[in-house]
């Protein structure tokens, strides 16, 4: 099932003990990896094991994501076909570019499956076509992969991450424009040191909705960082109350704590509640339009609630 999408924990697909332990770490989503974590000679074994695991392990509210091999490899299509029978919530498609995403999307739709796709943008072309990728049917999010991306553009990875700043921003903006999730690249260390928290701070400030991790130790920090604080939740509720009152009274933008509350502020408040796992309720209906010749009091209606527009 799909719920909150803050933390995505990678788990090797050919390791039964880790597949069993995966759901207990508190991650919102578990990525069962058939790609880099599996040796070439074990691709068949991992594919069968993950398919069996999906039918038997009680994942509860944890979203099941399977990273298949790229469709350009000898394993990719077999992986996807097998997973369409096994029924994970989501396929994470590596080396995602419009053509590969369209192919995967078509296979999923032809199978009548309810599986969504996260596009793993990790090539220069993938990043540059992020908006196009995000608009392909059944794509529910864009996932940035820094390691392959930097290799593709010939840059060297650094602690401060200057070489991936543009790509990160591009992915966030494209995903937001498509009204889907944006998932940041994992921190590649396993410690819980300053570097991890500094990287996580960048993830949050740039606007990513989620972040991947390779160590269970990172899950809690990610969940905390990408969840709105109690103060933010309270403010969001007050914004929605003020907006509802304004709508009832047929007013335009209303003031709260001395600041104007208009459509973008309302949309952000609704997103804050959703990221907290709370129901923001139905969007307020804009006040009836003014009669001919009257000046409209509200320049525009509320920004459409983006949740629900896409699968």
């Amino acid at each position: 099932m799909r719920g909150l999408r803050r933390s995505f924990l990678f788990t090797p697909g050919n390791n039964p003990a880790m597949l069993l332990a995966g759901p207990i770490f508190g991650a919102d989503a578990l990525i069962l990896d058939l790609e880099d974590a599996v040796a070439p000679g074990q691709k068949d074994a991992a594919r069968i094991l993950v398919a069996e695991a999906l039918g038997k392990i009680p994942y509860g509210g944890v979203e099941t994501v399977v990273r298949i091999n790229p469709l350009s490899t000898p394993y990719g299509e077999d992986d996807l076909r097998a997973m369409l029978k096994a029924g994970p919530d989501t396929i994470l498609l590596p080396k995602a570019e419009p053509r590969a995403l369209a192919q995967a999307s078509a296979m999923i739709q032809e199978a009548g499956a309810k599986t969504g796709i996260l596009g793993l943008l990790e090539t220069a072309l993938g990043v540059e076509t992020a908006f196009e990728c995000g608009g392909i049917p059944v794509v529910t999010g864009l996932f940035f992969g820094a390691e392959d991306f930097t290799a593709d553009i010939g840059a060297r990875r650094s602690a401060e991450g200057l070489e991936i700043l543009y790509a990160r921003q591009r992915v966030v903006v494209a995903a937001a424009a498509c009204a889907i999730d944006s998932i940041d690249t994992p921190f590649t260390g396993i410690d819980l040191g300053e570097d991890f928290f500094a990287d996580l701070e960048v993830t949050k400030k740039l606007g990513f909705t989620g972040k991947a991790c390779i160590s269970p130790r990172h899950v809690e920090g990610i969940n905390r960082a990408l969840s709105p604080s109690a103060e933010e939740i309270n403010y969001a509720r007050r914004v929605l109350e003020a907006d509802a009152e304004a709508t009832r009274r047929g007013l335009g933008a209303v003031s709260l704590d001395g600041r104007m509350v208009d459509a973008p502020i309302v949309a952000r408040a609704r997103a804050t509640l959703r990221r907290s796992g709370l129901d923001p309720g139905p969007a307020s209906e804009p006040a009836p339009g003014p009669a001919w010749g009257q000046t409209p009091e509200r320049a525009s209606g509320p920004t459409p609630d983006r949740e629900g527009e896409r699968p």
Partner: protein, 94 residues
Amino acid sequence: MVLKERAQAGSLESSDCLVSVEPAGEGLGLQLSVRSIVMNQFGEAIREVARETLEAAGVRDALVDINDRGALDFVIRARLRTALERAGMKEPIP
């Protein structure tokens, strides 16, 4: 279904099992050997999973060895399916 060659799948890590399969002459039937760290508790259950998986694959004659390290049913089934496919079964096992 007839196996064409000897094949193996899985590992001896905890929660896994190492499965070996080998062709047997027609009419010799299934010869199933199981070793397990939980033999007393689950030996018969492991045999049952193996028999069901072999039957579903249509394998009638084979030598099958399972060295279990505490694998759950789905792991045993996955490793046996993999070994059978590696042994030359053409069609994916349902």
